[in-house]
């Protein structure tokens, strides 16, 4: 029986000891004296680096004191100079990664960097004027400061709350509410909790002011011995000599996209031009061939090539072809240089001279067998390719430049006009709705560049050309 009190004491100790261990909610990560902790029901003691702190412990600092407490859930509490912060409650279930965390600050400043508990909804900070629900975040809190934002400063000053990350829901002692959701924004709460400012950017001065509250003073080492301080070489070696990602990085697809946009426009235009060349250039030439064929044949396909009246080129077929000019730097009427006929194939060479620039020789080769004509009709079909060779002779005597086209035709031709004695038309007109384009050949570098946008040949839109022929 004598031992009964001892047994009871032992039992009490055994029951109580686990509770005491469970009450350790974190450790002192850094401390500059003077800073002390007062556990519940205990006496104040100086904080020591690495020492445990317990639930409901009050941390107090003087003007040269700072402390950082690291909690079990990886959150950290920075306690500024001249501050008093109490760990009201810390419960953490590591397996669930959740719990409850409550701090209260009655004077000074704190910096809370969230951990697992605040990633849920279980973290709050109480000031004399307000309660701050911290969600997934990082906040700076100062009690009784001079900064009051857009509210009137009460005698007790204002509590300042700045959000650095996450969200903070603030409810003042008198029920006024604000929610901070944007990093760098803050509010001021009147010391009585009666007024709260609108959220606004905290400003550079406020951030610097807070930092001074937590930074070590000259000569202070956060609790480590001066001989064992972390050094720059080690920091560089361990953190790496890395470059941070750019805040405004290279535009990536946006940068390439500008080139795509420009190329898409050029491609759309180029494919139109290419198709234009392929389809539209030779209506007139085909008509010329058809007309000539009408003289030589009363039906079926042609057996003779096209001939041109050399004595009257302007009014002849080729002259008509260029009735609107051969346009490069201006529009000129070409002259016929030569022609040759071999069977149904004709070759006509023209010269277009541009004083001061040089001249072009244009050779058109037409195979009249492609024309299917029946005497007495006023229409014919033509399909095939007409090679056209363009040679540019620069005025300065530079090397001649040659480009060859295949002018593709697949057209129905219609005409009307005066018939000759054998029934063939001696003059006729062609009605069309297209512009005759012979797009600038890329193989020829014009110097200076052409001024005509549709060089080399051009006819107006919706043209009606009348051709007159003289036959041998």
């Amino acid at each position: 029986m004598r031992n009964l009190p001892s047994v009871a004491l032992l039992a009490l100790f055994c029951l109580g000891a686990p509770d005491l261990r469970a009450d350790v909610v974190g450790n002192v990560g850094a401390v500059n004296q003077s800073a002390q902790g007062t556990p519940p029901g205990g006496a104040p003691k100086g904080l020591a680096l690495g020492a445990g702190v317990v639930d409901r412990e009050r941390i107090e600092t003087k003007a040269d004191g700072r402390a950082q407490i690291v909690f079990l859930d990886k959150s950290t509490l920075g306690v500024g100079a001249n501050s008093s912060v109490t760990i009201d409650r810390f419960v953490y279930d590591a397996a669930a990664g959740a719990g409850k965390q409550s701090l209260s600050i009655t004077k000074g400043a704190l910096r809370f960097i969230g951990g697992e508990v605040s990633h849920g909804a279980g973290m709050e900070i109480k000031t004399p004027s307000a309660t701050i629900g911290v969600r997934g975040g990082m906040v700076l809190v100062r009690v009784g400061g001079a900064e009051c934002g857009d509210i009137a400063r009460p005698p007790g000053g204002c509590d300042q709350i700045i959000l650095l990350n996450g969200a903070a829901a603030i409810v003042t002692a008198k029920g006024r509410r604000q929610v901070l959701t944007r990093p760098g924004f803050g509010v001021s709460v009147g010391s009585e909790g009666g007024d709260i400012s609108d959220p606004a950017p905290a400003g550079e001065g406020a951030i610097e002011g807070f930092d001074r509250q937590f930074a070590s003073l000259p000569g202070q080492t956060g609790g480590v011995s001066a001989a064992a301080l972390p050094n720059g070489a080690q920091a560089l070696a361990r953190l790496g000599n890395i470059r941070a990602p750019d805040r405004n990085p290279w535009a990536g697809l946006g940068a390439i996209g500008a080139h795509w946009g420009g190329a898409g426009i050029a491609q759309s235009r180029a494919q139109t031009n290419n198709q234009t060349v392929a389809t539209q250039t030779q209506q007139t030439l085909a008509a010329v061939v058809a007309a000539r064929d009408a003289v030589a044949s009363d039906h079926g396909s042609a057996y003779s090539g096209i001939a041109v009246d050399l004595s009257n080129p302007v009014s002849g077929a080729v002259g008509a072809l260029f009735s609107h000019g051969f346009c490069v730097w201006s529009c000129v009427t070409p002259t016929i240089v030569s022609q040759s006929i071999s069977g149904a194939a004709s070759s006509i060479t023209l010269q277009a001279t541009f004083p001061g620039y040089g001249y072009f020789l244009i050779t058109l080769a037409v195979n009249a067998e492609s024309i299917h004509y029946t005497a007495g009709q006023n229409s014919a079909t033509f399909s095939g390719a007409i090679p056209a060779t363009v040679v540019y002779y620069p005025v300065g005597g530079g090397a001649a430049q040659t480009n060859t086209y295949n002018l593709v035709v697949s057209e129905n031709l219609n005409w009307s006009g005066v018939a000759s004695g054998n029934g063939a038309p001696t003059s006729f007109s062609i009605n069309g709705s297209d512009t005759l384009n012979f797009v600038n050949a890329s193989g020829i570098v014009l110097d200076p560049p052409a001024t005509s946008t549709s060089s080399f040949f051009s006819l107006p839109n919706g043209f009606t050309e009348s051709f007159s022929f003289s036959y041998p």
Partner: protein, 444 residues
């Protein structure tokens, strides 16, 4: 039954990807917990503390900030730690704190000139984030070569009225050109809690062909609209209604003008994934005076009319230095000319790999980015000019490799090599083009 199938599929996907992802993540998280417990009780074990900071940084855990603040309480002169802290504050959007710490790092005797140059390269952009009016831009001039600048068909064949024939222009017309490319960005921050910003974007792009001046291009566009925060609906969600306009010239003549209105949503998921769905209406005006009238103008893929586009853009940060970005869009072009009405599908993707440059003095990361694009254009009806019985359909593939190489904080070089292959059921448009673009860049 269908619902059950979908549920089964979802379950299978979760088992395959969700659990795999979870187990892949649990390992570093467990290591982080181990390190956290160790450094909590052994705060002066710097080796473990740095390991903790590195891993927490990699996992985007803000515990890294607490650990760095702690180290700086021990030694406020730790420039590298201060720099790291500044960039971590920047990452969470606390720009004032970021600027404060980076400025302090610049004063540290620990850092050499090259390291300070890296901070100085980033600092102006971060300082700008603390201001209401933010103006930035980039400029590139350079040279591009193209194997097929005239976009001629590879075969030399054209479909004309349903007849396949040799074309009027033969051979590939390769060419080179100079170009200028400027992008200007202005954000006006309304300084409210939602983070509302009026965004203005401008683009100017011009090319000068050496041999094919008719394909000189000048393109100007501008867009403006507010980006409004919708955090009340979902954290990280913003919406942006906007209007835009553009004008372009080809061969020094006005060719295409556009006016647009659209709206896009942007949702950020945990800083790693950004999705941006959008819808846009665009009115196109093709200036027919830019070319002599011709029924072959109807073969152009760009036509006067209305275009309605639904799109989904996205960006996934796989690692700190690797990001996948992409965009998929479907466009319906209600051209005024029936033969030019199309449906268009466009998918773009780019893998951006940021690497350290070869010299320590170069302050910014370089980016190497392979990319690809697929575009399908399907015309509603056949165009008799091409083929009266076949509606045109083009499948275009683009493969490329881009390099952005900043040399100094403001100047660098950038370029890309690209292969384009357009498969079309119309001979006239089957073509290939290889282009190389390169030139110096400037940013401000």
């Amino acid at each position: 039954m269908k619902e059950k199938k979908i549920s089964a599929l979802a379950l299978a996907a979760w088992v395959l990807f969700g659990t795999a992802g979870a187990s892949a993540q649990s390992e570093p998280n467990a290591e982080l917990e181990r390190l956290a417990a160790h450094v909590r009780t052994h705060p002066s074990d710097y080796e473990q503390t740095y390991a903790y900071i590195r891993l927490a940084t990699e996992l985007h855990d803000e515990a890294a900030i607490g650990a760095l603040e702690r180290l700086l309480m021990y030694n406020p002169e730790l420039g590298r730690a201060r720099e790291q802290l500044g960039f971590l504050y920047a990452r969470i959007g606390a720009y004032q704190s970021a600027v404060f710490n980076l400025r302090a790092a610049l004063k540290s005797p620990d850092l050499d000139a090259a390291q300070k140059a890296r901070i100085e390269a980033q600092l102006p952009d971060l300082e700008m984030q603390t201001k209401a009016s933010r103006f930035s831009g980039s400029l590139q001039i350079g040279v591009r070569t193209q194997s097929n600048a005239a976009y001629l068909p590879s075969s030399g064949l054209y479909d004309v009225g349903g007849v396949q024939t040799l074309g009027g222009v033969t051979g590939r017309q390769s060419d080179a050109n100079t170009f200028e490319h400027a992008q200007i960005t202005h954000d006006y921050d309304l300084q409210n809690q939602r983070g509302d910003v009026i965004e203005t974007r401008g683009l100017a792009y011009a090319t000068q062909q050496f041999a094919l001046p008719q394909y000189n291009v000048a393109l100007f566009s501008v867009s403006v609209g507010p980006r409004l925060g919708l955090a009340e609906i979902a954290p990280g969600l913003t919406v942006k209604p906007y209007v835009a306009g553009s004008a372009s010239l080809v061969g020094n003549l006005n060719y295409l003008n556009t006016g647009s209105a659209g709206v896009s949503l942007r949702q950020t998921f945990g800083g790693r994934l950004v999705l941006e769905p959008g819808f846009e209406w665009t009115r196109l005006w093709v200036n027919s005076a830019s070319s002599p009238g011709s029924n072959t103008q109807t073969v152009a893929t760009i036509a006067t009319g209305d275009v309605f586009t639904g799109s989904l853009g996205g960006s996934l940060r796989i690692f700190d230095n690797i990001r996948l970005e992409g965009r998929a869009a479907f466009s319906r072009a209600e051209a005024y000319v029936a033969t030019q009405a199309t449906s268009q599908f466009d998918v773009q993707a780019m893998l951006r790999v940021e690497v350290d440059p070869p010299l320590a003095e170069m302050p910014r990361r370089w980016t190497i980015a392979p990319y690809a694009r697929f575009t399908q254009i399907a015309f509603d009806i056949a165009n008799p000019v091409l083929d009266p019985f076949r509606a045109r359909r083009d499948d275009a593939w683009v493969y490329g490799l881009a390099l952005d190489a900043p040399i100094t904080a403001q100047l660098g070089v950038s370029g890309h090599l690209e292969f384009l292959r357009n498969d079309s059921n119309i001979s006239s448009f089957k073509m290939q083009n290889v282009s190389l673009t390169f030139g110096p860049t400037a940013r401000f």
